[in-house]
């Protein structure tokens, strides 16, 4: 049987969901590949849910909200945009194609646009082929890395930074300094990269204790970088030295 992608669409009630209704009312046909979850706002969608949806084998995930400036709830769509952008970058690190996650602005009047988006996304996913996480034998490696992504987007510090991004870049942080969008993006990207590595390390040392060298080899990161991560994680009481083997300390995860 030929492969037909399965898309889960999280649609804003006020625009994209109405556009999907309008497509039906106008009898505009589109591939029967999308399953729609109705939300009140695209800003409602927690990145953790998107990760879980992808991990469970969705070939594609569509988030669709109102046009910028047109959000029913002032700016929920912009909050969604910030999160999705970060999530896409993280997904790219797992080997899963980031194109499988798509954010679109579809106004309520966009029946034709909705149908086109579904058509186009279906074609794109058809040429990408089935998700490596769909079916009976999901790719273990990607699944593991996706679990790290999940840890990262569920991370308290990161979520606070992301949640306050627009405040910090538009209204100023607690010290009253407004950080430029570019500067913030750069710092955030660095921070996310670090967090991703650290969550990876945490998962590894949870299984068994490892030395910096072992971690560096498995992660394909310089030992200096791993050591920096370890130091930071020790400060947060996430890891500790379990024992010393020869001259190298072995690190293990602490129960939080």
């Amino acid at each position: 049987m030929s492969y037909e992608p399965r898309i889960v669409g999280f649609l804003c009630n006020w625009c994209a969901y109405s556009a999907a209704d309008l497509a039906g009312m106008s009898r505009i046909s589109y591939p029967p590949t999308i399953r729609i979850v109705r939300l009140m706002c695209s800003g409602r969608i927690d990145p953790v849910i998107i990760v879980d949806t992808l991990a469970n084998g969705a070939d594609g995930v569509l988030i669709a909200g109102c046009l910028p400036g047109d959000c029913h709830y002032v700016e929920g769509n912009l909050n969604a945009e910030v999160r999705i952008k970060i999530l896409k970058n993280l997904i790219a690190k797992t080997g899963l194609e980031p194109e499988r996650l798509r954010l679109e602005w579809i106004p309520a009047s966009g029946g034709t646009l909705f149908a086109e988006v579904v058509k186009d996304f279906t074609n794109q996913l058809t040429s990408l082929g089935p998700s490596p996480l769909a079916g009976e034998n999901p790719d273990k490696n990607i699944l593991e890395l996706l679990a790290v992504v999940r840890d990262t987007v569920a991370d308290v510090r990161l979520r606070e930074l992301v949640g306050k991004k627009r405040q910090i870049t538009e209204k100023g942080n607690v010290y009253g300094e407004v950080i430029s969008k570019e500067e913030f993006e750069k710092r955030l990207t660095d921070y996310i990269d670090d967090e991703f590595d650290r969550h990876k390390i945490l998962r590894m040392v949870k299984e068994r204790s490892l030395s910096v060298r072992e971690l560096s080899e498995r992660l394909n990161l310089s030992p200096q970088r791993v050591l920096r991560h370890i130091a930071a994680m020790r400060r947060k009481n996430l890891v500790a030295v379990e024992r010393i083997e020869g001259v190298s300390p072995l690190y293990t995860a602490l129960e939080v």
């Binding site: 109705r38 927690d46 953790v48 469970n56």
Partner: protein, 649 residues
């Protein structure tokens, strides 16, 4: 022990709309096998009386505690079926609607097999969600029988009269020192040709004589807090510097040494720093423009009444109301740099023309060339200035008819003067307005059609004569027209401070910057913030008649909760798990409604009546401590997994 889940599923044929494509029998069969589904039926019209009775009977017979109806879009019938389950004794939120018509049968009519498969998935997703739904209770809040009307133009004044006459306390707040808004600046109005001031006078008299109305001029909204029923408003009343002892002798106006452009006349003349905005101004006492006054004290020296005090400070006043009407009107577009405006003195806007033609205007109603004070022999109008272009795609609605009216007034008063109108399309629609166009043609006004790709060019010849060159698209030729006076029919634009006011009251704006109605067709007078209504040109360009119609409607809408004295509060709102909350304040920074804030114990607290249930806070909560009732993470994920055939069911 937890109550056993007993789900009833009802698949609607919608005549042949659904059943003509989807095999409803098969869908019902598959749905019947899902966990906790006690009964799965299909029926020809679920929304019909017998369809509704079927659900009610089943709820009793099968002891159902969750119901799924798979039919049309929830935007169509969700509330119908919620009421059905409620009538049968279930909580109305223990119901989920599956969209089989708009999002399945109608969209996939060419593929019944796949449509049937998709329908099964849609039912599975709905069952997955309905199993996790929790009963929610609607709450009531009391509504104060008082209204705040923002904007003292004709729209706001009419709203105040409407509501005060129904017996509600009404606060009319105007940021300028006088009432009347844009209409006060007009000369005559279209259709009746009455003087605008004559229209306003009886309204203003009714206003000042009404005991239910309190008027605040020179006043701004500093803060708005609260919610429908109980808005708390902090007003900032700017100082007038002149009190009621003033006997209008006018000596102060003579001695004041400061001259600034008169904004009431759009800069056609100057006024003093102490001034009476215009001769029909209400209230009619002078005011001092604190920003330009040099505090020289000359006015105090000549004031025999001791009515002037230069050290007055703004005062605050708090009011509380149940509803708010936004009637803030519009700003005329300033076509700086277009068609020689700002460069040539004899290029003016249509609003400046209104002032010029007004009896109480800078020329006492005489049509003159601003450059030399002579009567112009050739007057040219250009329409659609600032409207219907990539920056402002909308049509400003009134400029065509106003230009026709002004062209005819000029023609009647100065028959020797040639009047030409350069238009893209004449859109003088509405009662009596197309007739105006016919009359203008008969009156000998010249009409030239131009295309936006090739707009008129304005230049000044060596003899200082202004010339307009236009490619007449009907004749297909270039025409040169001398213009002693060139009038630009400028667009209506959103008030410059509308973004600021919008964010204070939590009312969104459309991309063109006007306030957004809750629904363009069905709720054109409401906003998304409950208890706040829209009237007049604050929502979109309108003529006076339309403003009055809308403001009567908005007043009627506002009086519903105030007459009832209470409103129901939607229970689909955010809720904080205090044990998980880490007191970071992220939710507070993200909520556009101020509905979630750190409470006294540092934990986030939701003001349910302000919360709209959008869920941005929940999706960004670092500790994932926020739940949105009826759209919980578990419910969303369950639907998503059910779509993928994972999870249970």
């Amino acid at each position: 022990m937890e109550e056993e889940l007993r789900v009833g599923c009802y698949i609607c044929h919608c005549g042949l709309n659904i059943a003509g494509v989807i095999d409803v029998e098969k869908v019902a069969e598959a749905t019947g096998k899902l966990p906790n589904v006690v009964i799965a039926r299909h029926y020809v019209y679920m929304c019909s009386e017998p369809g509704q009775e079927l659900i009610k009977k089943d709820i009793k017979d099968y002891n159902l505690n969750r119901v799924v109806v798979a039919s049309c879009s929830p935007q169509m019938h969700e509330s119908t079926f919620r009421s059905v389950v409620e009538e049968a004794g279930l909580n109305r939120y223990l119901f989920e609607m599956a969209n089989l018509r708009e999002q399945c049968s109608w969209a996939h009519a060419n593929n019944p097999v796949k449509a049937t498969e998709k329908a099964k998935d849609i039912l599975r997703m709905a069952v997955a969600k309905v199993r996790l739904l929790q009963p929610l209770e609607k709450r009531e809040v009391q509504v104060k029988p008082a209204t705040l009307i923002v904007g003292g133009g004709i729209t706001g004044i009419q709203a105040a009269l409407e509501l005060a006459n129904r017996g509600f306390s009404t606060y009319l707040v105007e940021k300028l020192p006088y009432l009347g808004g844009r209409v006060a600046q007009l000369n005559r109005v279209i259709l009746t040709n009455e003087r605008a001031s004559e229209i306003l006078k009886p309204m203003l008299n009714a206003l000042t004589g009404n005991p239910n109305i309190e008027v605040f001029t020179n006043t701004e909204i500093e803060e708005i807090g609260g919610y429908i029923g109980n808005f708390e408003i902090k007003l900032k009343i700017g100082p007038r510097f002149v009190n009621q002892k003033c006997n209008l002798c006018g000596k102060c106006l003579e001695v004041c040494p400061v001259e600034v452009p008169d904004e009431f006349n759009f800069g056609l003349n100057n006024r003093k720093a102490i001034y009476i905005p215009h001769s029909d101004s209400v209230p009619r006492i002078p005011t001092i423009d604190g920003a330009n006054c040099t505090r020289c004290g000359e006015c105090i020296k000549v004031c025999e009444q001791n009515a002037i005090s230069l050290d007055s400070e703004p005062q605050n006043k708090n009011i509380s109301v149940g509803t708010i009407i936004l009637a803030t009107g519009y700003d005329p577009y300033l076509p700086q740099g277009e068609y020689g405006f700002g460069e040539y003195e004899d290029v003016i806007t249509q609003f400046q023309l209104e002032r010029m033609l007004s009896n109480n205007g800078p020329t006492n109603g005489r049509l003159v060339k601003p450059s030399n004070g002579k009567v112009p022999r050739n007057v040219v109008f250009i329409l659609c200035v600032g409207s219907r272009n990539p920056h402002r795609q909308y049509c400003s609605r009134v400029c065509c008819s106003v230009a026709l009216k002004n062209a005819m007034l000029i023609k009647k008063e100065y028959p020797e003067t040639q009047v030409s109108i350069l238009y893209r399309d004449i859109r003088s629609f509405g009662k009596g307005q197309e007739e105006l166009y016919g009359e203008a043609r008969l009156a000998g006004i010249n009409f030239f059609r131009y295309s936006p790709d090739n707009p008129p060019k304005v230049s000044r010849l060596d003899n200082s004569q202004i010339q307009v060159e236009v490619y007449e698209s009907i004749l297909g030729m270039n025409i040169e027209i001398p213009a002693d006076l060139l009038i630009l029919a400028e667009a209506m634009t959103p008030r410059k401070d509308s973004a600021e006011l919008g964010s204070k009251v939590g009312v969104t704006r459309t991309p063109d910057g006007f306030f957004r109605e809750a629904h363009p067709k069905l709720k054109p007078l409401d906003t998304n913030s409950e208890g706040i209504y829209l009237a007049g040109a604050a929502q979109f360009p309108k003529d006076i008649t339309e403003c009055i119609v809308q403001t009567c409607g908005a007043a009627a809408r506002a009086s519903i909760p105030m007459s009832k004295g209470k409103v129901d509060v939607e229970p689909i709102v955010a809720s904080v798990n205090e044990d998980l909350c880490i007191e970071c304040g992220t939710c507070q920074s993200i909520c556009p409604y101020g509905a979630i804030k750190k409470g006294e114990n540092g934990k986030a607290q939701v003001t349910e009546i302000l919360c709209k249930g959008c869920g941005s806070c929940a999706a960004s909560c670092p500790a994932r401590a926020i739940t949105i009732f009826h759209f919980t993470d578990e419910q969303i994920l369950a639907q998503s997994l059910a779509a993928l055939g994972r999870g249970e069911p």
